[in-house]
Every structure is written in C-alpha cells, then in structure tokens.
Point group: C2
Chain length 283, copies 2
Amino acid sequence: MKALPHWLADVCTAVEAVLSERFLDAWPPSLKEAIRYPLFTGGKRVRPALCVGMYQAIHGNVSFPKPLLAVAASVEMIHTYSLVHDDLPCLDNDDERRGVPTVHRAFGEGPALLVGDALLTEAFTLLAEQPLPSEVIVQLVTDLSTAAGYRGMIGGQGADIGMNGPVVDHKTLSRLHRLKTGALLQISAVMGARVAQATPEQLAQASAYGQAIGLAFQLADDVLDAEEDQKEDGPPSFVKLLGVDETRRQAEALRKNACEAIASFEEPQRLLELAQFITQRDH
Amino acid sequence: MKALPHWLADVCTAVEAVLSERFLDAWPPSLKEAIRYPLFTGGKRVRPALCVGMYQAIHGNVSFPKPLLAVAASVEMIHTYSLVHDDLPCLDNDDERRGVPTVHRAFGEGPALLVGDALLTEAFTLLAEQPLPSEVIVQLVTDLSTAAGYRGMIGGQGADIGMNGPVVDHKTLSRLHRLKTGALLQISAVMGARVAQATPEQLAQASAYGQAIGLAFQLADDVLDAEEDQKEDGPPSFVKLLGVDETRRQAEALRKNACEAIASFEEPQRLLELAQFITQRDH
C-alpha cells in the first residue's frame, strides 16, 4: 500500500480543483459561501477515488483526464448534499461534522436546505457539460440519479428515519445500508467504468466490485463505531446483530469478492489497495 | 379562448398519467405515499402546458407524444419539489397548500425533506430514459438543472430568504422573480422547443416567449395578491413598488412581447391564448 496514500492525495487535489471552480457565479454571495463550505471540510473523497481508480484500472493508465475528474466531483457533490440534508434538525440533528459546525449551524436551516438542493442539482449540470459522448452522459445521468434517488440513497434514508417501522433483522439492515450508503459507492465505481468506455463484461465486474465494497464499507464503519462507543441504545448495526468478529469476517469476505471481480483488469493494483484501505481503515 | 380550457384539461390528464406511473416502486411504502401526495393536489400544470404548447406550436400538430409528456412531467416534478421544500418551517412555514395540509404537516418534516429530494432527483432519471436523441437529452438536462439550480430557482429562493439583505428596489425584485419563478417557466417553453427539434432561431424565439411569460406570470400574481389582501407588511411585490395600474400595464406589455416572439410559428394560436390565460387569470 506504499503508493496508495500518494495517489489518494492526488485524487483529492485534482477533484477539489474541479469543485473549487464551481459555484463561483452563485448569487446572492452568501449562498455561494454556504454552498462551498461543506465541500471543503476534509472529506476522505472515497467516492471520487473509486471512480478514478476504476477508470485507471480499466484504461490502464494513471492520468486524470478532466471529464473523469468532473464525473468524480459530481458524485462527491451528491454525497455532500446528502450529508447536509441528513444533518438537519428534522433528520439527524447534528451540530458538528468533521470537527466543524454543520451547515445549518453555521448558516441557518433555510440556507442549509438550499445548499443541499443546489449541490444535488448542480451535479447534473456538471455531468451534462462534459465533452464525453452524449450516450455516455445520458448513461451517467441515469446511474447517478437512480443511485441517489428513491430507489437508492433516499429510499435508504426514508427507511432510516423509520418510515417503514423499526429495523430489527439482518436482511432489512442490509437492504437499508445497500440503499443508504452502498448505492452511491457502487455507482461511483460504475461511473468510472463508463468514462473508460468499459465493455458490458467490464461494467458488470466494476458493478460487482462496487457493490461488495459498498457493503464492506458499512460493516467496517459499524466495527469502528462499536470500538469507539459501546452504547446499547444507538441505531441498529451489523455489530449488534452479528458481533464484532463475525462482522469483521464478513467485511473481509466482501473485500475478497470485490478484488476477485476486477482481478482481470489491466491495472487492478490500485483498486485492490483501495479495497483494503476501505475495509481496514481506522477512522 | 374557446379551445384552451379543453386543451389544458387534456395536457393535465396526459401529464398526470406520466406522473402516476412514477414512484410505484418506491420503498419504504410510506415514502411512496408521501412522494405521490403533492403531485396530485390540483396544480394548474402551467409549466407542462408551456412545454407541450411550445412543442405543438413549432411542430404544427396537436399530438402528445410520450417523450414530450415525460419532459413536461419532469418540469412539474421540479416545480413540485420546490413547493414542498419552500413550505417547510425553515423557509415559508406554510401549513396548507391548495386547500390541503402541506407535505410536512401530513407526513412530518423529515419525510417532506426526502420527498423534495426524491422529486428533484427523479426528474433527471425521467429525462435520461426518454427515447430521444442523446444530444437532445443532454441539452434538456442542462436546461432543467441550470434553471432549477443556484443560477436560477435556488438563487432566487436564497435571495427571497434574505441571504443578500432585504429587497428594496425594482431591479433587485425583478432579478429575484426572474430567478425564483421565471427561470423554470422560461425553460419549460425552451424544453418543448428542444423536443420539437427547433432551429436555433426558433429556440431563441421560444426562450424570448418564455422569459416574457415568466415575468408576466409574477406581475399577474402580485396583482391577484394585492386584490385579495391589502396588508402592508407582506413580502416585497411589484404592486407595492409600481402600484396596481402600472403593474397591470407592464404585464400586458410583456404578454404582447411574448406573443410577437412566436407569431411566426406554424401553430401559435394555443401559445397566444396561454399567454392571455396566464397574465389575466383570476385565481
């Protein structure tokens, strides 16, 4: 994993340059400031890394073409909007994220609502303006809107706030997380494959990698949460249902599945390391 | 205007059939119910009518092809999301809309937030799946996301909640309304022209019609509000700045501009009547 931290830092820098160019013409000026605030508070950029890593694995090079970075940035904008709305008092009611006040604490609830709406909307403007074949852009819009929408992330959030009763079993919890966090992680990998003009077989492999990594990410998260905090009254988690050891074992099995799915790609090494980084991270 | 009410009713029926087909696979079930609720509470469907009317004016027929109706429905979904989020306590805090409880009063604030997010996201899924040329779909995504985003509707909402200080002059109020309601009305007309595969000249004419109608709509709204309610402490309005007579005069001038812009189209009659309906409506 020697090269991974450098590569991840390069992905962050390159994607942040794209994000930094957006929203400069937002009006009124205080809206511009509020939109840019949550984009630059130290996210790990896991989704852009999955997108860029998948492109490079299939395409067999290490360049960061601008349209690829824009596609990666669009996923990060969707992820950021979901955090801003999740943090609002009517959902999770969080005062802090990544060590700084949440958007609604810093700018007010109305502005935070609009910030999320603006990030969500602009993700599609950004996709649509890329110099990629129109057929690819249409597919990317379908990918991103489906993963982010009621069939994906929003459906998971709905279940998370108890719109369908309490979550009590493993199957329902898996479904919730597959929707809430897994769908966007999975599609990040698929969208990188689309930009690389992957074959249908490669797309299926990218999708399998992304799906396994998406669930492994959540299992690893639950293990981290359990180590930090042994409370019994928190939200349902895999650790509570399965115990720490079994949750770890399942995460490791998913990591292996993910790695097998893309082993035949031209440059799989970075995705293999990324899978390890995601499932064994310690923060 | 004899034919217009029938045609408007036909547009409503046809677009509502498209909306009715969406969200049937939403999960959890209570999310599906909450998403569908604001779509079917008696909107006038002005934006779909502008979209369909423009297509028919350029294309010279009166058919409702399915992709056209889907494009019209996507605009209505964006309009509906904006109402759901606007009604939330952190923005306008409205308990009723169109004579029924607002979404957050009927389902709760968290669900209402997610309903708006889902409608906004699904509008792009719907556009991307249409059997139209990919180049046209990419343009439609750009149109809709730009009009709905921080350069359009959201920018106007930001200004509306005082993110840039109070609105005191005619120029700022015009800008606010051009963004807040005008951008989406204008793009509805433009998107109908795109589906009709309009020439660049026709697109410019459709855009000019939409822009004039967008502002005329707001002027007419302000006149209606002033007639219903003479309060001095309401939000800034054109009537307060210009008086009723001058506001009416300007709305009529805009209606004429709009009609002149599309007078050379093959079947302009319906758009002429629609302009009159919008600027002289009494509710």
